[in-house]
């Protein structure tokens, strides 16, 4: 696999222009995750109303893969019912870890991140934001 398959245009675009990323105030931070192997860091907040995710925002520092993954995650989950979001989070993490063969059709753009599964050392980069949002939903009790 060549590197431009890992770093697809879609990923570079999200890396350079991360969606829904902004400095959070300490009060609104729901989850603060560090990747202890590399020092990357994400803080995340989410808002759920009537069983639907209305907002996901985050800040922190990370590599192209982790930044793009957080951006694509937020874009995808906003507006999604929590039940569907939890299912998607599980499927996404399983795909990146190589625990499932291929991406479900509903993945859409997210398949751009599938190449990460060829690089075991980068799996945590791609899944960090997804673990963070899963924890945030847990904290919100939804």
């Amino acid at each position: 696999m060549e590197l431009d398959e890992l770093y697809q245009d879609m990923i570079l675009d999200h890396f350079k222009h991360p969606r829904n990323r902004q400095e959070l105030s300490d009060e609104e931070v729901l989850v603060d995750e560090e990747n202890p192997t590399c020092g990357d860091h994400i803080r995340l907040t989410a808002r759920v109303e009537g069983g639907v995710i209305r907002d996901v925002r985050y800040d922190g520092k990370g590599c192209a893969i982790s930044t793009a993954s957080a951006s694509m995650m937020s874009e995808r989950l906003i507006g999604m019912p929590v039940v569907d979001a939890r299912k998607l989070i599980g499927e996404f993490i399983a795909l990146i870890r190589g625990e499932r063969e291929s991406a479900p059709e509903a993945f859409g753009d997210l398949v751009a991140l599938e190449g990460v599964k060829q690089y075991p050392m980068r799996v945590k980069c791609a899944t960090m934001a997804w673990h963070a949002v899963e924890k945030a939903l847990g904290k919100l009790g939804v």
């Binding site: 770093y7 590399c38 020092g39 192209a64 893969i65």
Partner: protein
């Protein structure tokens, strides 16, 4: 020393045989040297020659070290200090010869002051446990620096918490050196221990260890030097440093993983409690209580890493035959080439500009995260490290969560720096313009 057994010699055992080591007898010829390290000649990622620039993490092993391990297991293997049979004597001899070689390599007065551990981390934890728990009291101060590896920070945090002791830190200045003036001010009568890294694994800074030890000893503090990044790269003598403890790892100096060393001043080691309890470390055991073996066995509970000691002995032989002065000079040359070349690339920032520095070169590239850079370098066959380098507080001080690090050893080539630069430029362009 006993006569060498004929059987062993006949099969060419390098583990228990008395090989004659002539200091400085090996020539610093890059081609010859690299032929001693088969792994340096492998190809990765579809035929790219490997450029191994991750030597601060671990070094590669010459054939002589691998063969010593192999010979030990094939011809010498038995448990040490126990049985009375032929192989047990050979194994004990091979193990203790490893200790003798390590003692000689760091100028230790005798072998009793050399304790085998799993590595630098365990060596420091041993001191924190066996010396710290016995002698550190509430309100005592422990002086560390802001550039410590987690292994010379976390054990002291644990101890300080348990004992109510206070940790103080020598600040790091912008150029990557320690604030020596601040250090002197921290040396109050409350200080019981000064523990610091000799050479920074991130900044490459070589700290003035001898002067720092002398200042600490002048106020009666015990001193521990973390030599993980110094002992492999320059001549280090405990007699010259005059420190109380020196900790280092075998695998960062051509030896196998799983073996490390704690040098300790004999009187201190005698005064300390054991580290772990078990076989080997005892003298007399009853159901109610036990007495301890003499040093160093007091601190070596259980069956030790015998082959590791043999391998480390072979590693010190290799380095001695090269000569640590030549190792150091070659590395200085390679480091200078790398720093000059990296500095010439726009957007590259090097961390650590100490006048005296070692071959660990950490840097960042504008617009490229260190992970992505390491991925690009890897694709070119260039192995570097990216991350926090087990020094999170230091990186935080420099305002970055992660850095990229190229680290050199005497077997590297200047051409390998060219290939690193090529990868850096390629990554920079890729993330600036994308694939098209």
């Amino acid at each position: 020393m006993a006569t060498e057994p004929a059987e062993c010699k006949a099969i060419g055992c390098s583990a228990c045989g008395d090989r004659i080591v002539i200091p400085g007898s090996r020539v610093m010829d890059p081609a010859k040297i690299r032929s001693d390290f088969p792994i340096l000649n492998v190809q990765v990622h579809d035929g790219k020659p490997l450029a191994y620039l991750d030597n601060a993490a671990t070094t590669q092993k010459p054939s002589s070290v691998v063969c010593a391990l192999c010979d030990y297991y094939q011809f010498c293997n038995a448990n040490v200090h126990r049985s009375l049979h032929y192989l047990a004597e050979q194994a004990t001899r091979a193990f203790e010869r490893g200790r003798e070689r390590v003692a000689a390599f760091i100028g230790a007065p005798n072998v009793r002051s050399i304790i085998f551990t799993r590595g630098t981390t365990e060596s420091i934890n041993l001191v924190a446990h066996s010396w710290g728990r016995k002698f550190i009291q509430a309100g005592d101060e422990i002086v560390l620096t802001e550039m410590e590896h987690h292994s010379n920070l976390v054990p002291w945090q644990l101890l300080a918490k348990e004992k109510g002791a206070v940790l103080k830190f020598v600040p790091v200045l912008k150029d990557g050196t320690l604030d020596q003036e601040a250090y002197r001010k921290l040396l109050t009568p409350k200080v019981r221990l000064v523990a610091f890294v000799h050479v920074s694994n991130v900044l490459g800074t070589v700290n003035p260890a001898k002067e720092m030890v002398a200042a600490a000893r002048a106020i009666g503090a015990v001193t521990l030097v973390d030599g993980a990044q110094s002992v492999p790269h320059q001549a280090v003598s405990v007699a010259d440093l005059d420190c109380d403890f020196l900790a280092f790892s075998g695998h960062k100096m051509l030896g196998p993983t799983g073996i490390g060393v704690l040098y300790g001043r004999e009187a201190l080691l005698e005064s300390m409690d054991p580290f772990m309890g078990g076989g080997e470390m005892i003298s007399r055991v009853t159901l109610k209580e036990s007495t301890w073996a003499d040093i160093p066995q007091k601190f070596e509970a259980g069956t030790p890493d015998i082959s590791g000691a043999v391998g480390l002995g072979a590693a010190t032989d290799y380095l001695t035959e090269l000569g640590m002065d030549k190792v150091h000079a070659r590395e200085q040359e390679l480091t200078r080439v790398a720093i000059d070349a990296l500095s010439a690339v726009p957007g590259v920032h090097i961390f650590g500009r100490a006048p005296e520095r070692s071959g660990a070169v950490s840097f960042e590239v504008d617009g490229v995260h260190p992970h992505d850079l390491a991925q690009f370098a890897d694709r070119e066959g260039v192995a570097i490290r990216a991350g926090h380098m087990c020094a999170q507080p230091l990186l935080r001080k420099f305002g970055v969560p992660a850095v990229a690090r190229a680290s050199f050893y005497f077997y590297n080539l200047p051409e390998e720096t060219d290939r690193l630069i090529h990868a850096v430029v390629k990554a920079k362009e890729f993330f600036a313009h994308g694939t098209r």
